[in-house]
Amino acid sequence: MQRFAELLDRLVLTPSRNGKLTLLVDHFRSVEDPDRGLALAAITGDLSISAVKPAMLRTLVTERMDPVLFGYSYDYVGDLAETVSLVWPETTLQGEDVHRPTLGDVVATLQRASRSDGPEILARLLDRADIEARYAIIKLVTGGLRIGVSARLAKQALAEFGRVDVAEIEELWHGLTPPYGELFAWLEGRAEKPEQTAKAMFRPVMLSTPVGDSDLEKLDPHDYAAEWKWDGIRVQAVAEGGVKRLYSRTGDDVSGAFPDLVDAMEFEGTLDGELLVGNPLEATGTFSDLQQRLNRKTVSPKMRQQFPAFMRCYDILVESGEDLRALPFARRRQRLEHFVATLEPTRFDLSPLAPFSGWAALDEMRKSPPHPVIEGVMLKRRDSPYLAGRPKGPWFKWKRDPHIVDAVLMYAQRGHGKRSSFYSDYTFGVWTGPEGAEELVPVGKAYFGFTDQELKQIDKYVRDNTLERFGPVRSVRADREQGLVLEVAFEGLNRSTRHKSGGAMRFPRISRLRWDKPPNEADRIEALQALLDR
């Protein structure tokens, strides 16, 4: 348990992806089965333990200490799990409890617990653990580790640990269960690769590369088919022998969030496409609408009715048990067209091809797409098989130009690692309010897009123009007369109630520093609102 607790603590404070990978790989290397597999399951969200309510935790602790002292403590720390882990009275270990519990012990004990004896069993575990382990146990039973590690990153760490391609892990993943003994045995070269026995498995997806400056000159337009690039989320719909699953592009099972779509998966096969909301026969909803359906554990009937999910299909990987991935794109496309024609038309439609006469014509098409939910074009080589990963050549994405706004730097935060002494994360705002009483409203935050040289210049500007400090954050002088104007590029705007401006930028980055531009010439909020209202 100590090793797992330590891992959680380190992961939460390690900002860099590579740092997290090192911590995870070392953990898999140095911790034995089943604990490392259970740690993996806890991180990927595949560990099921019946939950304990925060109120119960509070009762347990105030039975053991003065409630007033607990109150002072909780007020100070602000996190219930952490407070309880720290104030829990230390007990001398005796008899059968003399050993600290392992993660395996903890999970097995908690999984055996019933609703009635759960609290008592939890209390006994906390008695046997030390501070760090108590924190980890409480996080496990209250759900939500919140350590900033995605399932995808955990799989990447597994791939590094076993020196295999992450696509292999993703393909296997849904056939495996915690504590993943056979997976680790294979990754350590002690056993054969586990066989896929589960139904409706995920197949690693094929990704595209952006069109570079001179990529197209060497290519013949006739070798490629073009499609619109829809601004939804990439999904894979798999139905096999009555098992239906909807996967994200990284192989996470997202079926639970889209029961309306899953219900309509009356077919045998594996489809690749874009998940969107609306009714394909009438209108396609915006990404903002789609957001209403993302990251939800349960979906209300109202939600399903207001934002119905559908899939715009662009590839077929398996049809009635036949693996089509080795076929050229043109052949798969024919099979796909026939296949989709048999499906429920309000839930599945075909991503249409976009005929074009040459690269110049296509350039025009991607710059001014015919629908607001289109963010560019896709190019697919007609003779290419369906390959896992991101091979360069067969598939290209060619995006519409980003939106641009001129904003004023308002706050700067110190970065981490290489940038730990630099103010490298910038919050910027645009003008709002009536003429003569304009003020800045923050509209986003960006931390890349500039060179190291520019970073030094902005850092100096921040230090020279600081108004106030709040821990690692500084507010920077920004008014009508003085301020640094940043040209910010972004992909779109989502409606958001969490932001004062009403919208959240997608993929914002600094595209240029406008040292030359006076702050009063930066954009007004109306420029952004126009994007939301489209």
Binding site: T14, G19, D26, L86, V87, S420
Partner: protein
């Protein structure tokens, strides 16, 4: 004699009317008794100062030889009389030279403990409980959530990380007096014998600790003259925490920010400060040390100062010990 006639708070600091002296005054006074060399307790400009030899040395290092009109050495454990009031210095285990001051007059003994800790520390004399009627305790970590792990465990975390991330420089933030030398000594005691790099602000005090017989091993200045960034890959660099947020830190390759402080017990504190590797090492007693010490002094009354007094006062009440917060101004209850 009533305790509050023997010692009472004044804006300048804790004052003894019959002895006409202050303990750790925050403004210049005629006669000051000083518990230890941290700058919020030991200020310059007093007419006369009574403190341990080491505290006087440290003050001279920090403020120059003329930091007070006159100085007098307090021998540990030897009582002396100041205007008819008996005062005795006892080790406090906080930093080198730190002392508690027992003040006795008219049959009443009050111990002003200054700052103290109970964990073993190779860089200073260990705290000795002194029986008394009134115990004045600090309350920096006076909440049940503060429980410091053994310092050796924390240093183990640091050395494991140095091994795990050999390309990164580990920047350990530690206050210049006491914490820095203790951290360095702990690293040595854990068997690490490579050079340790230090920020210039640590030079004088590290030299002084060495002169007092506390071996710190090979220390090198953390400068890059004639070298390159790569020189610090896998190195341990110790410096004041403020330096690591500053441009000074840019000379190191992909630095791992570590901070040695009791505050690192609280995750949010580490996170907000951008600390990647928190090391829970403190100069101050944790909750268990504070409560244990109050019991060991046998005091029937406790005055709690700088920090989270309310929880400590509550604890005393539950134990049937009279207690009240002592409001002294000018001390940094955040320092550690």
């Amino acid at each position: 004699m009533r305790a509050r006639d023997l010692l009472r708070p004044r804006p300048e600091g804790l004052y003894c009317p019959p002895g006409d002296f202050h303990i750790d005054p925050v403004r210049p006074v005629e006669r000051a008794l000083i518990t230890h060399g941290h700058s919020d307790h030991a200020r310059s400009g007093h007419a006369s100062v009574l403190a341990t030899r080491q505290t006087l040395d440290i003050m001279a290092l920090r403020y120059g030889a003329d930091f007070a009109g006159s100085t007098q050495v307090a021998e540990i454990g030897n009582s002396q009389t100041v205007n008819g009031v008996s005062v005795t210095f006892h080790p406090a285990g906080h930093v080198l030279g730190s002392a508690q001051i027992a003040v006795e007059h008219g049959g009443t003994r009050i111990v002003a403990s200054g700052d103290y800790k109970r964990q073993a520390d190779a860089t200073c004399a260990a705290f000795e409980p002194v029986s008394c009627d009134v115990f004045i305790t600090e309350a920096t970590f006076g909440l049940p959530v503060f429980r410091h792990p053994p310092d050796t465990h924390e240093i183990g975390k640091l050395l494991a990380s140095v091994e795990q991330f050999p390309a990164r420089a580990h920047l350990v933030g530690a206050y210049a007096l006491g914490k820095a030398q203790r951290v360095i000594r702990l690293i040595r005691d854990a068997g690490y014998d490579k050079p340790i790099y230090i920020h210039g602000a640590l030079n004088k005090l590290c030299d002084y600790y060495e002169s007092q017989g506390i071996a710190l091993g090979e220390l090198r200045p953390a400068t890059v003259e004639g070298g390159s960034k790569g020189d610090f890959a896998g190195a341990i660099v110790v410096g004041p925490p403020s330096a690591f947020a500053d441009r000074w830190a840019r000379r190191f390759p992909d630095p791992m920010s570590c901070f040695a402080s009791g505050w690192m017990r609280i995750r949010q504190r580490a996170k907000q400060g951008g600390v990647e590797l928190p090391l829970i090492i403190s100069d101050h007693g944790d909750w268990d040390e504070l409560t244990r010490t109050i019991g060991e002094t046998g005091a029937s009354e406790v005055w709690a100062t700088h920090g989270r007094e309310e929880a400590l006062v509550r604890w005393c009440e539950l134990q049937g010990i009279a207690a009240r917060p002592l409001h002294l101004v000018g001390y940094e209850d955040e320092g550690d």
